[in-house]
Amino acid sequence: MPTVIPPVDPLGLPAAAALLKALSVLTFTPHLLAMNVTLGGLLMALVYGRRPEGDPGALLAERLRGLLPAGMAMTITLGVAPLLFLQALYGQAFYTSSVLMAWTWLFIIPALCVAYLGLYLAYLRPSWVGDRSHALAWLSAALMLVVAAVFANNMTLMLQPGLWAPLYAASAYGAALNLGDPMLPARYLHTILAAPAVAGLVCALMGRRFRTLDAAWSAWARRTGSRWFHVAGGLLMLSGVWHLLALPVRVGRQFMGASPHDTGVLAAGVVLGVAALVVAKRATGVAALLTVLGVGCMVLVRHRVREYMLFPHVNAAGIPVHADSGWATAFAVALGVGIVTVGWLVHVALQCRGSREGVMPG
């Protein structure tokens, strides 16, 4: 069956493909980090949530719980921009694969709603649900894992133009999945393992923050967080090797020397990740910085894999550009003002931590 590719949108790109690609990578990185913190934090809260009162694990779960619904809201919101740039650059592939697995793809919407409701009830309104709060939190975690699996499915299916026509010929009811793709399990595992690793780092950072207020708990949190970071981070590295080997040979070889630039980016990501693992116990802040940079490199690798996989069928660089510099500037200004405003909001929130004075008179 011949490969079928939708044509390029006649309205063209709103800016040079390189700019949109850069924005895609830059906006996806915070989304991925927020997802890792939320999912990994939830897993930690579930693991330690049943510990008896007074146990440091119970206190960790308590401290994480309040953050998780907000973390989920931020994950969803931060995911909107990369999805926008993905559609502008690779809509031909993304829309096609989405239609092929339409029902599964659509399932994400109710799944996220139920997952959030579960988190909200379990952690912000536990008195409403009583003993069921733990079960609800598990339900939320399970739904998040399913949502991640659906995303991995679509993100790999969109990279396989050769599969689209046969899958559509088999069923036009939006029931196709990409389960036969060797990239899928490797990619899914790689995505999921990052969550406990990053959450472990967050736990260690929380320990660092409380070192003067609660020294015993601080030591426990740093030790436990580092352990999560090391174990999950080590497995993450191994799953990364599996992912690399699962790529089609013509793509995988680009990251193993054929393309010096892409090999360099992958190597930088690995070095940053290993460095973060090495320094995590002694310098948690440095490890966090190295991790953020490492995740950024890996997002760039992910982007390059997509480009290699889709070439020559879908090539964003070949789409005509109808640039509008005025609106692009307006976006830059809005983004700048937005970042400053978010910075101010976070600042005033941190300033009033623990205070119980505030708005309520009397």
Partner: protein, 446 residues
């Protein structure tokens, strides 16, 4: 034509979009109006030094963050999601044209979410001045988000000068943009009051309940009073065809227009003669009934807004079946199926008109019609004979203003006719009592 078509049996994809979109509009407008409601209520509590009003505002904040933050965001993405599955070409066009507008909207939305979280967290913790400033940031960013997205929504109906200039500014600042912004802002205010009635009607303190229920009712009436005036202004910007469809041109759209007006009137009357006059007696069940009426009014209005766009999905640019007027000549000469990438029958079936017709139906008709479910083509063409069907299809846009023209070769049109006739043979004719010829003649006379 360019993308695979998702077959949704019985309902078609349109109903899925409508279901997600109505819920999203109902939540997202509340999220915006609710921000203003909270800040002004907090301001009132501080001015009167009334701790009970502030305590109410704090509780209402939790309600807003639960409903608005994630359900608003997820259903918003859900509208995008569902529309892209049902009509990927249209979403692709909007994304490519409005990418920067959407990106700016995302920045405002991000600020809105962070501000809402900090505002909720800041109760009992922040000094009043800072807390109010956070609240204003929340409301301002939420409204700016509406400002951006509203221009995209109205563009789909009133594309203004864009077809000639191809300028993004002309596309966004289209004729319907400003009046629609006023309508939607008023809806935000009214819905803020509707939601506030649900929380205020549950207050235990009778005095506080009386004040807050009446206060909430004023929001509903203030918002609802502006909607008809701004609505008429918006209607004045609509293309003639769209106005015609909503005001008698098509019975079903006219019925929904009437439902929208009636339900809005019912909401005002219910608020006036309920919570406004009898605040102490207002029960949460009654508040929920008012919310259900508001949801009905929102749903009917949004449905009309979508329906009057027909035959376009993006006015003067793309028909509801994703074909573009600009491609009409090319596709007609080459053939629809020869131009289509996904729905081409096997070469061995090219001599079978019914097979060709089935493929033509999927590409050209299935965005609005199902075979035998919602808006069933089998039902719509019941009793029509071959000649009458052919005539209808040949002059489709002239005979039915809400439908795009048939695009394709004579052979493809003959195939579509053969396919539709074959559907009639699949089951008993729904209206067997009326002879086919006479039904056709009667419709022709209309």
């Amino acid at each position: 034509m360019n993308y695979p078509i998702w077959d949704v049996p019985l309902t078609g994809g349109g109903l899925l979009i409508a279901a997600v979109a109505v819920v999203h509009v109902f939540i997202s407008h509340f999220a915006i109006g609710g921000g203003l409601f909270l800040v002004l209520t907090e301001c009132m509590g501080l001015r009167t030094r009334d701790a009970s009003v502030l305590a109410y505002a704090k509780r209402h904040t939790s309600f807003l963050t639960l409903v608005a933050l994630v359900f608003g965001a997820v259903t918003g993405v859900g509208v995008w999601w569902t529309t892209a599955l049902v009509n990927p070409s249209a979403v692709s066009a909007l994304v490519h044209l409005f990418a920067w507008v959407w990106a700016i909207e995302w920045v405002f939305f991000l600020v809105e979410i962070v501000a809402a979280l900090v505002y909720r967290y800041g109760w009992d913790r922040m000094d009043p001045r800072t807390h109010q400033a956070v609240g204003w940031v929340y409301f301002a960013s939420a409204w700016l988000s509406l400002l951006m997205i509203n221009g995209i929504l109205t563009f789909m109906l009133t594309s203004g000068k864009w077809p000639e200039t191809q300028s993004l500014t002309d596309a966004w600042l289209n004729p319907g943009m400003l009046p629609s912004l006023v309508v939607r802002s008023a809806v935000c205010v009214a819905l803020a009051g509707v939601y506030a009635l649900i929380t205020s009607s549950q207050l235990a303190d009778a005095g506080l309940k009386q004040r807050m229920v009446r206060y909430s009712a004023k929001w509903v009436i203030a918002g609802a009073a502006v909607i008809p005036i701004a609505g008429l202004w918006f209607a004045g910007t609509l293309p003639d065809q769209a106005r015609f469809l909503a005001s008698g041109g098509t019975p079903i759209i006219t019925a929904f227009t009437a439902a929208s007006v009636l339900l809005s009137g019912l909401l005002i009357a219910g608020t006036l003669f309920g919570p406004m006059l009898f605040p102490r007696q207002t029960h949460v069940t009654f508040a929920c009934v008012l919310a259900a009426i508001a949801l009905g009014a929102t749903g009917a209005t949004e449905w009309v807004r979508e329906a009057v766009r027909k035959p376009y999905v993006i006015y003067e640019y793309m028909y509801s079946n994703s074909l573009r007027p600009a491609d009409l000549a090319d596709v007609s000469s080459v053939g629809l199926l020869a131009s289509s990438r996904w729905h081409v029958p096997a070469k061995s079936d090219w001599h079978q008109p019914v097979t060709i017709g089935r493929s033509v139906f999927r590409v050209e008709c299935s965005s609005c019609h199902t075979v035998s479910g919602l808006n069933s083509i089998k039902f719509a063409t019941r009793g029509w004979d071959k000649q009458f069907l052919d005539q209808q299809i040949q002059y489709l846009n002239t005979l039915k203003g809400s439908m795009p023209p048939f695009i394709g070769t004579d052979e493809e049109r003959a195939g579509l006719v053969a396919y539709l006739i074959s559907l009639q043979a699949d089951g008993p004719a729904p209206s067997a009592a009326l002879p086919a010829r006479s039904r056709g003649e009667r419709l022709c006379r209309r």
